[in-house]
Symmetry: C2
């Protein structure tokens, strides 16, 4: 791979022999950030590159989209997190390639040299090749995604309030979530509670409680990665919230006015995609082998085969678990891989080696609305209200920043007691979108 | 004025004789909202139209722009505020005209008939005819304005961190606030504290404390509407924060790289406009007489001369105060006018009249940074830390919504103790803006 000479990041490139090795970490999600933190006391210089200035607590992003939390409560500036880590710096920039031969990361406007590279660039939602669906069925990966979705959901109620045509009003009040994994279940539950509780007294011409929320899952059950009993519990709980669950249901088309299924159409103006992800182009940058979700196939030491200085971790890595199936794209896997990659580098510098990566699976959780969650800790299962309290505690515990923990705790307590939502802002220029004509135009 | 037939808002238009009179209020700022609330127990139907779905607590908007508060903490959905007021409904829509003959308000996509009309459509920042300045020197009127400015300020530090050229780095770290009224003083103080305290440890290549913050005022002193002693106190306090104050300084030009003055140029990438406002086009809609700031000249009963069913209140109204000067565009004036207009309508329905509007001036306050404020209560003056505590208490008291009051109190306490800022998110696609080349291109 040859590279055009570009403007060069001044100090980092000047890596004289006397300087400690330079570890470049691309991506400040759970994987990249945990790698950076684990290098705090290693004899390295570290640089964390992200195209956003904040670390996002992705598991709670759906709460921003459904107006329960503010963006600042689930996102923290990367600089603030790494402020006291003197051997680490943060670069806001977008990586567009890697020159593994010359050991350089290519950004849009500069290059940064590395001695070790950790790619933790994550995944985006993917539409099984139907890229035109994205426009009508946005996914949920960034704060901007969440704010766009929040606008869309809240605007639907505003438009319905002004709509004279019954069919169009029903269409506006129909919300379809595609994908019955944790994200889909949590999002559908949160929309149901928004409509049935938080908004219930706020309109004069429509009753938000009449909103239909559908959750479509292609497989035979929700939360397929959980034990069967918990899937059943979650299905029950979400149906009690008023969500219509359709299993074994494959989407065949999405446009601005409907979702097409094998056996008919659902008229809707708001579709939310929670059905699939595609890894970032790390494999392409490296010319490495990838699985069909685009994840780089890596070895037990999380290095890319043939590139001993390059690690791939988190949602863009394909690592076989103990059962032979790839490890899931969830925060605990990402964090443990980040710590492991840092340990391998630290050991390499000290001339030592570490045993292959092994994922310590401590279980999984999903919440359904304001009062119910399911949790699976390997045989020890929790559900219902107790499960929900554990879910709350765990998420608050893992939130970065003492301040956010307090703020989220207070907001959740408040919402629990009042069913209010504090984040019901429509931003941008909503009034020009209130006419159903505009929505139809978009079709 | 003739009107094209448009789709018509169904129920409201159908005003049979048996229905109570319909009061349409355009604008849900301090003026419009207080009018709506004051009509809660009147024998009317009220409709509040706003192009945003939220009421904005404008006096704290600069804290969103400087990452101290989240948007949701200074904005509350209009529907939520008026939820329990059964005689009132809320319409999200943009008013583009008034047909006073046929008593209809024209929205982009419908018309709404009224028996009484209250226009409370506020003001936007204005550039003394230099509209091309807006692009480079945004003002602060909406949440979107504040988020755009927050992006701009935070990005400047990110760009400076990556900038190799000394002159460009200095330019990026120079912030110019134009206008030495309360908004300008508060904004300049908040940027100074952001740079000198909240960000001080977060960068490795630049020292945010080296940022220059300039406050330009065309007149001979800051806070011209306050007594001289308080102006002097404010000037002292803001200089202690490190802000360079330039009085008697008129801006003659603004572009992407500098602000031009009579005696030279200031190289900067970030200019904030707090120097002047222009009223919304209410006067044009009504064909009414306006002052040079575009405010409708109205009588002592806040009605438009010749249109006895139309009231204009708040920042878009020109009402002479006791000294002959027009009342200032501040929240207390707007609120009192809203209550007054509601009283006039209520009296008219009951066949009664009220005495002319009289503004009860309870004083004014402005804050300078994290610890100092000045307050003038007619002879009784407060300044320094005590003034600041009073300022905090008053602003929290007037914030709408119990929940926001708690959240803001906690955030301020937290910030006071730690100098942290909770809202440091850059949204959109910041990484593509980090190159100074991009900034230069925009020039």
């Amino acid at each position: 791979m040859t590279v055009e000479p570009m403007s060069v990041f001044p100090l980092v490139l000047d890596s004289s022999a006397s300087q400690p090795p330079h570890v470049v970490i691309v991506g400040a999600g759970f994987a990249g950030l945990s790698a950076a933190k684990a290098l705090a006391h290693s004899a390295v210089r570290a640089t964390v590159i992200d195209r956003q200035n904040h670390h996002l607590f992705q598991p709670l992003l759906y709460q921003v989209a459904t107006a329960a939390l503010a963006p600042t409560q689930v996102a923290t500036p990367v600089r603030a997190i790494l402020r006291k880590q003197a051997n680490t710096e943060v670069v806001l920039g977008e990586v567009i390639g890697v020159d593994a031969d010359r050991k350089r990361v290519q950004l849009t406007d500069r290059e940064i040299t590395y001695d070790y590279l950790i790619l933790a660039t994550g995944a985006r939602h993917a539409y099984f090749g139907q890229d035109d669906w994205e426009r009508h069925a946005p996914g949920l990966k960034t704060i901007d995604d969440a704010l766009a979705l929040r606008n869309r959901i809240l605007l639907a109620f505003e438009q319905a309030e002004l709509e004279a045509d019954d069919a169009e009003r029903a269409r506006l009040l129909t919300f379809v979530v595609v994908g019955g994994g944790a994200t889909g279940v949590e999002t559908a539950g949160a929309i149901a509670e928004l409509a049935k509780r938080a908004l219930r007294q706020d309109y004069r011409r429509v009753d938000p409680r009449s909103a239909r929320i559908l959750l479509l899952e292609a497989g035979p059950r929700l939360l397929a990665s959980f034990p069967h009993e918990l899937s059943a519990e979650a299905t029950d709980a979400i149906q009690r919230l008023g969500v219509e669950v359709r299993l074994n249901t494959t989407v065949t088309g999405i446009d601005a006015a409907s979702v097409s299924l094998a056996d008919g159409k659902i008229a809707t103006r708001c579709v939310i995609w929670a059905a699939g992800v595609q890894a970032s182009p790390a494999a392409k940058w490296l010319g490495a082998r990838a699985d069909k979700a685009g994840r780089v196939c890596i070895g037990g030491d999380l290095r890319v085969p043939g590139l001993k200085d390059v690690f791939v971790i988190g949602d863009c890595a394909h690592v076989a678990g103990e059962t032979g199936k790839p490890l899931p794209g969830i925060a605990p896997v990402a964090k443990q891989q980040g710590v492991y990659a840092a340990r391998v580098i630290d050991a390499a510098i000290r001339g030592s080696v570490v045993t292959p990566f092994r994922y310590a699976d401590r279980g999984a959780m999903a919440t359904i609305g304001r009062k119910v969650a399911v949790a699976d800790f390997h045989g020890f299962q929790l559900k219902g209200f107790v499960g929900w309290l554990i879910w709350c505690a765990a998420h608050i515990y893992f939130l970065i920043g003492f301040r956010n923990r307090i703020a989220v705790t207070l907001d959740w307590t408040w919402s629990f007691l009042t069913s209010e939502r504090g984040g019901r802002l429509i931003l941008g220029n909503p009034s020009t979108s209130t006419s159903a004509d505009a929505a139809r135009e978009a079709a």
